[in-house]
Subunit: 345 residues, 2 copies
DNA sequence: CTGAAAGCGCTAACAA
DNA sequence: TTGTTAGCGCTTTCAG
């Protein structure tokens, strides 16, 4: 039962609109609109009056109405191509998502988190995006995605790639860390620590990260680089363990190990220990990412910390430029990582 | 049927609207609206015609317009009270977020992920929620939150708590796993595996999970329960290590250990190993959560897997009921966990 | 069952 | 610099 008292209560408590503000401030609706959209071309005195009315009423803009009027959706898609269940264990992903969400919330927008696990999902996702359900997209790619990229390119949807899109480097806008330089840094550190054989467990070599981290390692090692001490992994713990077992078989006297991700490094340390090696006394190990795994494993990993937040912010900034219509030539941005010394090397 | 003019209209740049569909199907706008909202009270023949027009035009609803007309925002808040940076490392959180997102997307809605790290954030969050920016909220609480809960209760915002809200059990709607029963299960398993002293490292005892997991442990151990072999932790790796060191000092002959979270269990195993104990030969260990840590640690943990997805789905269902209808009595739901046997016990 | 029409709250173009 | 007005696309009465 709704009593008249409750009804009255409810209607008097309804959210104030732009008209309420205009009435209270004694101005027209358009003026209020101008004030809440930057306050340009409004006399200071009037602007103050409007702002005061806004405060008194506790007014805040109705995003649905604004989006409807502007012809925007108010949401941005964050697309990840990794397997969905693995995705939330990736600390980088989490930090990306968190940074995007927080930043978008500041402008009353939403983040739509989506996976594209297989080709079918990619197709329906392409439909969704092309359909105008979002204002733009941020792509976190972990494998090659020519179909989706091409589809997106053909559509009018503004988007920015997180990481270097192999094969599309010059055609698209992207923000990435300098994997090669970062790998160079950490491997140089490792090489300075130990004498003797140094091996590496790489990421998937069809990704730019996997490839460039290997390049950086090769560069840092110079003459000491041993092509036979390269095992390829797939970012998984298991592949880190198996890759290390392989290297140990090839070179029992292994002294140093660069593992291209912390999670794989956790697997590597397990394998090393199982083989009776002490870390770092017998084999020094360095990882990459500075993820949760880095401190969960014993000994804690020496690794590279990537500027994820900065990457996220820059990507969003570039995306917003393109949404606003400043879309000129593609924009590319490369950021640097930082060495974190712990006990594993 | 379809004139070229109509076709031309439809295939023009802009997204088709409900009016385009109505014109093509030769019906009124209201009828189309009825069809896309369930198709009730529409003659089958007409409904088919409308659906056909929708297909031809590739029409899909504009959420902003719908929300504006319905007086809804189209978004649901997921509030977590944990420290923000820790939060994305919690696998439960990730699965919750993913399940919510996916489910909401099905109904054209969004998930707003927010933290409430301290009291200040909680207050501004309270403002935000009370302001009508979201249609409802899902609360993942990790500590006591009387202020926020009371504030929310006072507002008209529908919400559901994930986990048991201590002190508000009867006043609010919530969905939780049966911590006591789950702890009972895994500790019974442990007790069947080893003879001799069994200890436990608990979660924070001011949370319902921490408390109930201890209760379940006590129940399962019966006469074998030793009050002196209870160390209290705070879910952190470190507290797992320190708690275990304490227990080892009190009972060097410790044979079994129930650690109330996998992350703490990882710390426990580190401490055990440092003290020269083998796991599980000398000390058998069981964890709780089946989180990423469970398989990252060596040996892999025997632990309890919680029905996170089901919890998420049920919570959302209950929330939607409350958003749709006038909230009746609070709804409570308790779900069960499952034992996962690995090598640590 | 169906169509017409009145908004939902806001932006932006156009006058003034 | 301002106020006025015409939509944005949809839902929801209200007649018929």
């Amino acid at each position: 039962m709704v009593t008249s008292a409750e009804r009255g209560d409810a209607s008097s408590r309804r959210r104030p609109t732009i008209d309420d503000v205009a009435r209270l401030a004694g101005v027209g609706r358009g003026t209020v609109s101008r004030v809440i959209n930057g306050g340009h071309n409004v006399r200071p005195a009037v602007r103050d009056a409007v702002n005061q009315a806004i405060d008194i009423l506790g007014y805040s803009v109705n995003q649905s109405a604004r989006n409807l009027a502007r012809g925007r959706t108010g949401s941005i898609a964050y697309i990840i191509s990794d397997r969905g269940d693995r995705l939330f264990e990736d600390p980088n992903f989490g930090l990306f998502a968190r940074t995007f969400s927080r930043q978008l919330r500041g402008s009353g927008r939403h983040l739509l988190i989506t996976t594209a696990e297989d080709e079918e999902e990619e197709n329906s996702l392409g439909d969704y995006l092309a359909f105008g359900h979002v204002d733009g997209a941020l792509l976190g790619l972990t494998r090659d995605h020519e179909p989706l990229l091409q589809r997106l390119q053909a559509s009018r949807l503004p988007f920015v790639v997180l990481g270097k899109p192999l094969g599309f480097e010059n055609a698209l806008s992207w923000v990435a860390i300098d994997d090669e330089k970062a790998a160079f840094t950490v491997v140089s550190y490792l090489a300075g620590k130990v004498d003797g054989a140094i091996g590496t467990v790489t990421g998937p070599l069809h990704t730019s990260s996997g490839r460039e981290r290997l390049d950086g390692c090769r560069l840092a090692l110079g003459d000491r680089f041993r092509p036979d001490l390269v095992a390829s992994g797939d970012w998984s713990l298991r592949s880190g363990r198996e890759g290390t077992e392989l290297l140990l078989r090839r070179e029992p006297g292994l002294r140093g190990l660069f593992v291209a991700s912390d999670l794989m490094a956790a697997g590597a340390i397990g394998a090393l220990r199982a083989a009776g090696r002490r870390v770092p006394e017998d084999v020094a190990v360095v990882g990459f990412d500075d993820s949760a795994a880095a401190t969960m494993v014993d000994p804690a990993l020496t690794t590279m910390r990537n500027p994820i937040e900065q990457t996220a912010l820059e990507a969003l900034r570039i995306l917003d430029e393109r949404i606003a219509g400043d879309a000129g030539a593609p924009v590319r941005l490369v950021l640097s990582s930082e060495l974190v010394k712990r006990s594993s090397a």
